[in-house]
């Protein structure tokens, strides 16, 4: 990739990071908490992008993996009285284990079968959370005391989440740029070639799925602290869908596009739901517009436009 192409994006990214750091100083409390939510969902969307954008396998179960972590954090903290870091660690471990099992089952399929299989796996988690009332609280869900125990103001929570998200983002960026990241892209573009070069495609996909679930689990653990409440709606299909939509809107395979997608969708939700209750309809229309005019997503489109400007005379 040419440096010309990425440097304006890098400058923009640096500005965005600076803006995110200064945000809580200027915004009213309510918007600080919306911003916190945007950051948490960016991590979920990035975890979806690791699979959808880099291995070419689009999952519909990441909401369930994310929500499993949220459930485990809230349950272990409120029922067993575990300290928050231990509860969060357990949440991430649970999500990672779940993802490795899902991975083992799903990686032998691809395309629409992968989509449907992961969708079904996610629905199982949702069904368990709904019916296993003694543990999950059924439809009433589970309320925690995490925020009270932490004693953090929304601004402090934002800063804490921002630091964790920055670290996780850096780790994920290293992940997709590593030899393993190149392997994932190779599998996306040519499985038979990878096998004949000596790669065990299923094994690499399982590792990728597990890593992706680990990141989704971190997002879910953060969400437990942020929301202090979990119910089956946290693990339901629409959660998986919105994680995927955020990744697609920002630009699949761009990793950082997840931030743009998460911001656009959550900001739109906030803005539209003030005016009308039919916010999902507006989301649907927006999504259609993006698919028609910028199917490569916002960041993907920006990269294309900049590449066009850097080399004005492209293909004849």
């Amino acid at each position: 990739m040419s440096k010309l192409l990425t440097s304006p994006l890098r400058a923009f990214a640096a500005l965005a990071v600076l803006g995110l750091a200064l945000l809580p100083l200027v915004l009213p409390t309510y918007y600080v908490s919306v911003a916190t939510q945007i950051l948490i969902f960016s991590v979920l969307a990035m975890s979806v992008d690791v699979l959808a954008g880099f291995t070419g396998r689009t999952p519909l179960c990441h909401g369930a993996i994310f929500g499993t972590s949220t459930y485990v954090v809230l349950y272990t903290a409120s029922v067993y009285g575990l300290p928050l870091p231990a509860a969060m660690l357990l949440g991430v471990i649970a999500a990672t284990l779940l993802a490795s099992v899902f991975g083992l089952l799903a990686v032998r399929t691809s395309g629409v079968y992968f989509l449907l299989l992961t969708l079904a796996l996610g629905l199982i988690v949702w069904g368990v959370c709904l019916r296993w009332t003694e543990v999950t609280g059924g439809e009433n869900g589970e309320r925690g005391q995490l925020r009270a125990a932490l004693g953090m103001s929304p601004r402090q929570l934002y800063s804490g989440v921002a630091v964790v998200v920055a670290l996780v983002t850096f780790v994920m960026w290293r992940f997709v740029r590593s030899p393993f990241g190149l392997t994932m892209r190779g599998i996306r573009d040519g499985e038979s070639r990878m096998a004949s070069l000596g790669y065990n495609v299923s094994l690499h996909l399982t590792i990728a799925f597990t890593a992706s679930g680990f990141f989704a689990g971190i997002a879910g653990a953060l969400y437990a602290v942020f929301n202090d409440f979990v119910s089956p709606s946290t693990v339901q299909l629409s959660q998986s869908v919105s994680g995927l939509l955020m990744a697609i809107v920002g630009g699949i395979g761009t990793l950082f596009g997840a931030f743009v997608g998460s911001f656009l969708i959550i900001a739109l939700e906030q803005a539209v739901s003030k005016v009308t209750e039919r916010w999902l309809m507006v989301l649907g229309l927006t999504f259609i517009a993006i698919m028609i005019f910028a199917p490569e997503g916002v960041i993907g489109k920006a990269r294309l436009l900049m590449a066009g400007r850097a080399e004005p005379k492209t293909k004849a």
């Binding site: 780790v171 290293r174 992940f175 740029r177 590593s178 030899p179 393993f180 990241g181 190149l182 392997t183 892209r185 190779g186 573009d189 040519g190 038979s192 070639r193 990878m194 096998a195 004949s196 070069l197 000596g198 790669y199 065990n200 495609v201 590792i207 890593a211």
Partner: protein
């Protein structure tokens, strides 16, 4: 490694069956280490299926494949790659969105543990870098490292097919119509590349262009309808009546049929 006289690859009664069709029908053949072998035959003769059986992408229905005294009949393609089997593809199978060097990185790391590095740098080790350098040089692609593959000419893509197969320093190289779709000038360029491959590398070559193939190999296997019909050295193959019949049609038949046979042999 086996001594030169020992067979490195032995196929015994290998059959690959798709439903009722025996694409490869009870094929037995044996290759010496360092040998160059051409597999010829009209379209549908089972040449590519034979490659798939040797490479593991379509395991044989029955029979046995020994590679350097190891029975690899039931092994996966990646396990065979570890033993030293590499292949190119008849239909170009490269990572088009990536640059040449990224393709080569994947090829060079295929057999080493560094492919599992989850957070490490994407740089190659000096040993891997050396292999990439040598393979690119052998395929005459030095200096093209940063070009995006889909923007290269078709001829260069065929060269990269060879370079990627070489990057794992294989002992057996399966070339599936490496010159398919190339112009005459590009063909002779690619023939040069194949001719100059290391002499200790065993090469099996599928090719439709008989002149190109016969000039490159020590020994020839001719297939038809899944079976081996002739095995001989290139000089005898040129004059073999059975081979001429397969490629050009039977003598003493009406002109229209002769033409038809000719078209078949050219893969139309």
């Amino acid at each position: 490694m086996a001594p030169v006289s020992e067979p490195i690859l032995t196929l015994t009664d290998v059959t690959v069956q798709f439903g009722a069709l025996k694409a490869v029908n009870s094929v037995s053949m044996s290759l010496k280490a360092g040998e160059r072998r051409a597999v010829l035959g009209p379209n549908g003769a089972g040449k590519t299926t034979l490659f798939n059986a040797i490479n593991g992408s379509v395991p044989p229905t029955s029979g046995r494949i020994l590679f350097d005294c190891v029975d690899m009949t039931k092994m996966s393609p990646q396990a065979r790659a570890y033993l030293g089997v590499a292949r190119t593809f008849q239909i170009t199978n490269l990572f088009g969105q990536m640059s040449v060097i990224e393709n080569m990185r994947l090829a060079a790391r295929g057999l080493s543990a560094s492919k599992f590095s989850l957070f490490g740098s994407d740089k190659l080790t000096s040993e891997q870098d050396g292999r990439v350098h040598d393979s690119l040089a052998a395929s005459r692609l030095t200096g093209r490292e940063d070009v995006i593959v889909k923007e290269m000419s078709y001829g260069e893509q065929r060269q990269l097919e060879v370079a990627m197969a070489l990057a794992g320093t294989p002992r057996l190289l399966l070339l599936d119509e490496p010159a398919a779709g190339l112009s005459p000038a590009e063909r002779s360029f690619l023939a040069d590349i194949i001719r100059n491959l290391p002499r200790d590398l065993t090469v099996v070559l599928i090719e439709h262009d008989m002149d190109l193939a016969l000039a490159l190999v020590d020994y020839v296997t001719v297939m038809q309808n899944g079976r081996i019909i002739v095995e001989d050295d290139p000089t005898s193959i040129r004059t073999n009546a059975l081979v001429q019949e397969v490629y050009l049609g039977k003598p003493h038949v009406v002109a229209a049929e002769t033409l038809e046979g000719d078209t078949d042999a050219r893969g139309l």
